[in-house]
C-alpha cells in the first residue's frame, strides 16, 4: 500500500512540475477572469454620454415625449448615474426639416475641442413617424450596435405608448395585460422538493458527464503515454524488481488521476471564486459589478456530489487501467493508438448514452445503461441528478462496477506484467490473451 502511494506521489510530482501542466492549469482561470472582466472593461470606454440633437418635425408632442424618454436613460442601472444622452431639440416644419438637419449634421462627428457645439448624432423625427415608425439617425457612431439598439428601443417605447393613448387605451393597463407567464420548475425526489430547478438538474447532469468525458480522454491518454515512456526509458526494469506490476499499475493510474483531480479542483475553485467574489474583483479593476459577466453555478446536493465522485473514481480507474495495459503492450504511442482507439470509442459511447438518458432518465435504456460498468459512470450520476433512483438500482450498479474494476485491473495487471518487458514487435491479440493466461 505504501509503495503504491510512493509511485502515486512520484507520478503526481513529475506531472505537476511540467510546464504543460502549469500553463494549462493557469490558462483557464486567466481566460475565465478575462472573459468575465474584459467586456466590462471594453464597454467602459464606449459608455459615455452622447450628445444628440433631435430635429422635431412632428406637429404634436411626439418630439417632446421622445426627448423626455431619452433624458431618463442613465449610463448604468444606478439611479445616481450620469445621463446617457445630452439632448437638444430643434423644432422644424415639414419644409424646414432638411435644412435644419443639414445645419446640425455640419457639427456632427467633429472633436469637441474644435467645435464646442459638436454632436455625436442627429435624430430626425417627421410628422409621419408616429404612423409609419420611420425615423432617421445620422451620427458618427452608427456602427455601435448596442448604442443604436438602445436609441431605437427608447423611441419604440414612446411610439407604442403614444399610439395606445391615441386609441384610448391606458398604457399601464396594456403593460399589465402583456406580463408573460413565468413557470418555476422544482425537482421532486422521494416525495420531497429538492429546491433544484429542472433546468439546473439538466445542466448539472450535462456538466458532470462532460467533466468525466474530458478527464477520461485527456488523463487516460496521459496514462498510456507515461507507461510507454517508462518502457522506452527502460526504467521499468529497475522498478520491476522492487514493485509488483499491480502496484506499478495502480500507482500510475491513481497518480495521473490525482493530477487530473488537482487540475479540475483548481479550475472549479476559480469558477467559484470568480462568481462569489465578483463584486470585489469588479471593484478592484474599477468597473461596476453589474457590467461584469457572471458564471451561473448550479448548486449540487451533497448526495449527488458523493454519487458523482464515487462514479468518477470508479470510471477513472476502470478506463485508466485499460489505458495503462494498452500502453504496456506497445513501444510507441502511434502503435498503441490503434488499440486505444477502441477505449476512446467506449468513452464516447458512454458520453452519448448520457444524452439519451437525459431525455428519459427513468426509461429502460437509462436503467440498463446505468448497470453496465463502462457506461454507468456517465449515466448514473446524471440519473441521480434528474430523477429519484431507487437505492437498490444504485447498489446493483455499484457492485457491478466494482466487480468490473477488479476484473479489469486483474487482466490489466497481467498484461502489464508481461507487456512492460516486451520490446520489439507489436503483440497480436492472441499473444495478449496468452499473457493474461500465463501463470
Amino acid at each position: 500500500m505504501r509503495k503504491i502511494f510512493v509511485v502515486l506521489l512520484r507520478e503526481l510530482n513529475a506531472r505537476v512540475r511540467t510546464k504543460a501542466f502549469i500553463i494549462s492549469t493557469l490558462l483557464l482561470p486567466v481566460m475565465m477572469v478575462m472573459f468575465a472582466v474584459l467586456p466590462a472593461l471594453l464597454s467602459r470606454g464606449g459608455n459615455r454620454t452622447l450628445r444628440v440633437a433631435i430635429v422635431d418635425g412632428s406637429s404634436d408632442s411626439l418630439g417632446a415625449d421622445v426627448e423626455a424618454s431619452l433624458a431618463q436613460q442613465k449610463l448604468s442601472r444606478d439611479t445616481n448615474s450620469v445621463p446617457r444622452y445630452e439632448l437638444h431639440r430643434v423644432r422644424a416644419n415639414a419644409a424646414g426639416i432638411a435644412r435644419v438637419r443639414d445645419s446640425l449634421v455640419a457639427h456632427t462627428g467633429i472633436s469637441r475641442e474644435h467645435d464646442p457645439q459638436a454632436l455625436d448624432g442627429v435624430l430626425v423625427l417627421s410628422d409621419t413617424t408616429l404612423v409609419t415608425g420611420k425615423l432617421q439617425y445620422l451620427g458618427s457612431n452608427t456602427s455601435a450596435f448596442e448604442a443604436m439598439g438602445q436609441l431605437e428601443g427608447a423611441v419604440s417605447r414612446v411610439l407604442a405608448t403614444t399610439r395606445l393613448e391615441r386609441a384610448g387605451v391606458n398604457p399601464a393597463v396594456m403593460m399589465g395585460a402583456m406580463t408573460p407567464a413565468d413557470m418555476q420548475t422544482v425537482k421532486v425526489s422521494d416525495g420531497k422538493a429538492t429546491g433544484e430547478s429542472g433546468f439546473a438538474s439538466f445542466i448539472i447532469a450535462y456538466i458532470m458527464g462532460f467533466i468525466l468525458y474530458l478527464a477520461m480522454i485527456i488523463y487516460g491518454q496521459q496514462t498510456l503515454t507515461s507507461v510507454i515512456e517508462e518502457k522506452t526509458s527502460r526504467i521499468m526494469e529497475v522498478l520491476m524488481s522492487s514493485l509488483r506490476p499491480f502496484q506499478m499499475l495502480l500507482g500510475k493510474v491513481l497518480g495521473v488521476g490525482a493530477t487530473g483531480l488537482l487540475q479540475l479542483s483548481i479550475w472549479g475553485g476559480t469558477i467559484f471564486l470568480v462568481t462569489s467574489q465578483h463584486a470585489r474583483i469588479a471593484h478592484a479593476i474599477g468597473v461596476s459589478a453589474d457590467a461584469m459577466q457572471q458564471f451561473p453555478i448550479p448548486s449540487m446536493a451533497p448526495d449527488l456530489l458523493v454519487v458523482f465522485l464515487v462514479y468518477f473514481v470508479l470510471g477513472f480507474l476502470l478506463y485508466g487501467a485499460l489505458y495503462a495495459a494498452i500502453g504496456s503492450m506497445f513501444n510507441t504511442v502511434q502503435e498503441a493508438q490503434q488499440v486505444s482507439m477502441f477505449v476512446n470509442m467506449a468513452i464516447v459511447i458512454g458520453f452519448f448514452t448520457l444524452f439519451a438518458v437525459m431525455k428519459d432518465p427513468t426509461g429502460s435504456l437509462a436503467v440498463t445503461a446505468s448497470m453496465i460498468p463502462f457506461v454507468s459512470p456517465f449515466v448514473m450520476p446524471a440519473r441521480w441528478s434528474l430523477t429519484a433512483v431507487p437505492h437498490s438500482e444504485l447498489a446493483v450498479s455499484l457492485v457491478l462496477s466494482v466487480l468490473a474494476l477488479l476484473a479489469v485491473t486483474w487482466v490489466a495487471g497481467r498484461i502489464y506484467r508481461t507487456g512492460v518487458l516486451m520490446y520489439g514487435k507489436k503483440p497480436s491479440l492472441m499473444e495478449a490473451m496468452r499473457w493474461i493466461k500465463a501463470k
Binding site: 510512493v6 510530482n13 517508462e230 526509458s233 526494469e237 529497475v238 520491476m240 524488481s241 522492487s242 501463470k439
Partner: protein
C-alpha cells in the same frame, strides 16, 4: 556452512521453441563476489531475471536466503542493476535516488540522507538538484549504481555492471563492489569480460547456451582445467625455438605473438623438458614462466566457439 544467498535448483526457461536456460543448478554462497559468466545469449540475463522474479521459470526452483518467499517480498534485502539501464529523465537526481530508496521500503528522509552520501562518494554532489537528462551518460550510470545500493542490500545483483564505463568510473565501481563483499555482503554480477571476473570473483559459474559449463572458486577452476601454460619471451634463436615449439610431443597448442608466445604443454609432459630442449638449442630466453591458465583461455576452451567471445586479448 551458512545458508546460501541464492540457490538455483534445476531451473529451465523456454521462450516459445527456444530454450534460454536448460536445467541449470548452482549455489551462490553468502558473502563474497560471485561471477556469472558466459558469452552473449548464454542465458545470463534470463537467469538473473528469474532470480529477481521478473520472469518465472518453467521448471525448477530458485530460493533466496533459504526463504520460500518471492524475491519481490525480499526486495528490501536485494539490490538489482538491470542490463537495460533507465532513469526518469525529467526527475532531479536527489529526488530520483530517494524514490528508488522509497520503493525499496525506505522512509523518504532516510533515503535522502543516503542519497546525499552516495552522491558525495561518487563525486556528484554538485549535481544533486539537476535533472537526470542534464547528466552525462557516465554520470547517469553512477546514479543508477547508487540507486541499486541506496538501501544497503544484503545481496546485490548486477547485470553487466561494467559495460560501457570509462576506466575511471570502472575503477570507482569496482572499489564499491569489492567494499560490499568485504563488509560480508554478497555480490553476484554477470559479465562476458573474463579479465574482470578473474580479478574480482571468489567463485564463478560459466554458462553457455543455457547450460552450466564450469562451476567453482576461481582457483579450483584453474586447477581443474589441467592444461599447463608456459609464457615465453625470446631475444635470440627464434627460428630454432619455433621448431621446438612445433613438436606435438612437447606442446599441445601455441599462441605466437612474435617476440613472445604462450604455449599449452602436451598432456603429461613436464615443463622442465621444454626448458631443457630450448636451452640445449641455445635459444636466448628473457622469460620462461609456468603460468596459470587465464579464465579467458578456459572460457574459450570450454565454451568452444571462440567467435562468440569478444576477445579481450585482441583489444
Amino acid at each position: 556452512m551458512s545458508t546460501p544467498a541464492i540457490s538455483i535448483d534445476h531451473v529451465t526457461k523456454r521462450f516459445g521453441a527456444f530454450t534460454a536456460v536448460k536445467d541449470l543448478s548452482f549455489t551462490v554462497p553468502s558473502g563474497g563476489i560471485f561471477g556469472l559468466l558466459g558469452p552473449n545469449g548464454a542465458g545470463k540475463s534470463t537467469t538473473i531475471r528469474m532470480i529477481m522474479d521478473i520472469i518465472e521459470p518453467d521448471a525448477g526452483k530458485i530460493t533466496l536466503f533459504g526463504s520460500s518467499a518471492s524475491s519481490r517480498d525480499l526486495s528490501e534485502r536485494l539490490g538489482f542493476l538491470p542490463e537495460e539501464r533507465g532513469l526518469y529523465r525529467k526527475m532531479k537526481v536527489l529526488d530520483h535516488l530517494a524514490f528508488l530508496g522509497e520503493v525499496k521500503g525506505m522512509r523518504k528522509a532516510d533515503a535522502k540522507v543516503k542519497a546525499d552520501r552516495w552522491l558525495q562518494r561518487l563525486g556528484l554532489s554538485d549535481w544533486r538538484l539537476k535533472r537526470i537528462e542534464d547528466l552525462s551518460k557516465g554520470m547517469q550510470q553512477k546514479i543508477q549504481f547508487a540507486g541499486t545500493l541506496i538501501h544497503d542490500p544484503e545481496l546485490v545483483i548486477l547485470d553487466e555492471p561494467f559495460s560501457g564505463l570509462d576506466p575511471i568510473n570502472l575503477q570507482v565501481m569496482k572499489d564499491v563492489v569489492v567494499e560490499i563483499a568485504r563488509s560480508g555482503r554478497t555480490v553476484l554480477f554477470s559479465t562476458h569480460v573474463m579479465e574482470q571476473a578473474e580479478r574480482m570473483c571468489d567463485r564463478i559459474v560459466i554458462i553457455a547456451r543455457g547450460e552450466k559449463v564450469v562451476d567453482g572458486t576461481v582457483s579450483e577452476v584453474k586447477a581443474g582445467f589441467g592444461e599447463r601454460h608456459i609464457a615465453l619471451t625470446f631475444f635470440r634463436g627464434k627460428e630454432v625455438a619455433e621448431r621446438i615449439l612445433a613438436d606435438p610431443a612437447l606442446v599441445a597448442k601455441l599462441d605466437d605473438y612474435g617476440a613472445s608466445a604462450e604455449v599449452a604443454m602436451a598432456v603429461g609432459v613436464d615443463p622442465q623438458a621444454l626448458l631443457r630442449a630450448l636451452v640445449a638449442a641455445d635459444v636466448g630466453l628473457n622469460r620462461f614462466e609456468v603460468v596459470e591458465p587465464s579464465l579467458q583461455s578456459i572460457f574459450i576452451a570450454k565454451v568452444g566457439n571462440a567467435a562468440e567471445v569478444p576477445a579481450k586479448a585482441a583489444a
